[in-house]
Assembly symmetry: C2
Homo-oligomer: 161 residues x 2
DNA sequence: CGAAGATATTTTAAGCTTAAAATATCTGCG
DNA sequence: CGCAGATATTTTAAGCTTAAAATATCTTCG
C-alpha cells in the first residue's frame, strides 16, 4: 500500500531480517553462556533462577499468575518450574486464605540464601559479557531496544490479554 | 582485580543486568510473535522454518552437522526437526556416497515451494515489527549488536569447539 | 439463593533443546 | 593390514515451552 511513498530495497524486508537474525544470535549466545555457567557452577537452570529472582523482590510472595506474567511465559509453564523448585525445598506454595483459587509462592530460607549466592556471581558474569560496550554504548543500546519494543508492541498489543 | 582502576556503581553489574533483561525481553517478544504468526498462518514452527531457510540457500544441500552449526544448536536437536520435516515431505535425507557417516539433506520441490511462500510473508512481518526504527537507528543497533557479540565472544571463545 | 460467566491454576499433548552416551564410519599410523 | 583415535550422527533422559482443555473457585446479577 505504501509502495510509491516509501521506496524499498530490491527484496522487501531483507535488511530487517538480517538485523533480526543478528539480534537473535546475540541474545541466544548470551543466554546459552549464562545457562551453561549456571548449570556448571550451581546446577540450576535459567528458568529456575529467573523464577527465584521474581520472588526475591517480593518479600510477601507472589501468586502463580503474577509470576507467569512477570516472566512473560504461560501459566502452565510456571507450574512445572514451581514443582521442581518446591521439590528442591527452595520455594513454598500455600493456598491463599482469601481466594482459594490462588496460590501464594514464597522463597524458603534456603531458597533465599541460594538465590543470593547465585545472583552475585550472575551479576558479575553479565557485566563481563557486556564489558566490550562502554557506558555510552550501553545507554544507546538500551534506548534502541526500548524503541524497538515499542515498535513491536504497536503490532502485537491487539492480542488476547 | 581491576577494582581500583575502574570504579563501579554500588551494586556490581546491576545496570548490565537491566540491559541484558531488556535485550532478552525484546528478543523474546519478537520471537514469540513470529512463532505465533507462523503457526497460525502456515502451521509451521520457527525451528522448522529456520531449518528450511538454511537449505534454501544451499542448492546442493547440507549435512546435518552443517545445519546444526549454522542454526547454532546441538546435533541432536536437528535430528528431531529433520525427522518431522521429512515426515511432512519437505526435505529429503540421503546418505552421502563418499562418506557413509554424513547425511546430505535437501529441500524437496514441495519444501522449496512452501519455504518461498512463507519467507515472503516472514520478511514483511519482520519489516513491520522493526518499522519504529529508522534506517540510521537500525544501522546503529546492528553495530552495537556486532560489538556486543564480539564482547561476548572474548569470554566464550575458549569452549570446546 | 443459584446459575452463568469470569478468574486462577493445573493438566495434557506435542514439540524444542541440551548434555551425555551410544553407534557407525573414516583416517592415519605402525 | 589393523587398530586407535577422530568425526558424523543418533539416541536418551531431563527439562522447558506452548496452546488448549480441564478443574476449581469466585463473583455477579436476577
Amino acid at each position: 500500500m505504501t509502495a510509491d511513498l516509501k521506496p524499498q530495497p530490491a527484496v522487501s524486508g531483507a535488511a530487517e531480517v538480517r538485523l533480526w537474525l543478528r539480534l537473535l544470535a546475540c541474545t541466544n549466545e548470551i543466554e546459552g553462556e549464562l545457562r551453561r555457567r549456571l548449570r556448571q557452577s550451581f546446577d540450576v537452570t535459567l528458568p529456575r533462577f529467573d523464577f527465584m529472582a521474581q520472588l526475591d523482590r517480593a518479600p510477601d510472595g507472589l501468586t502463580m499468575g503474577q509470576i507467569s506474567r512477570s516472566m512473560m511465559v504461560t501459566n502452565g509453564n510456571v507450574t512445572g518450574i514451581a514443582e521442581r523448585l518446591a521439590a528442591e525445598g527452595l520455594i513454598e506454595r500455600r493456598s491463599s486464605p482469601g481466594d482459594k483459587r490462588t496460590v501464594r509462592v514464597t522463597l524458603t530460607e534456603a531458597g533465599r540464601r541460594a538465590f543470593a549466592e547465585i545472583a552475585a556471581v550472575h551479576h558479575d558474569w553479565v557485566a563481563d559479557l557486556f564489558d566490550g560496550l562502554n557506558e555510552q554504548e550501553r545507554d544507546q543500546l538500551a534506548d534502541l531496544l526500548a524503541r524497538l519494543k515499542a515498535s513491536v508492541a504497536k503490532h502485537t498489543e491487539d492480542r488476547p490479554a
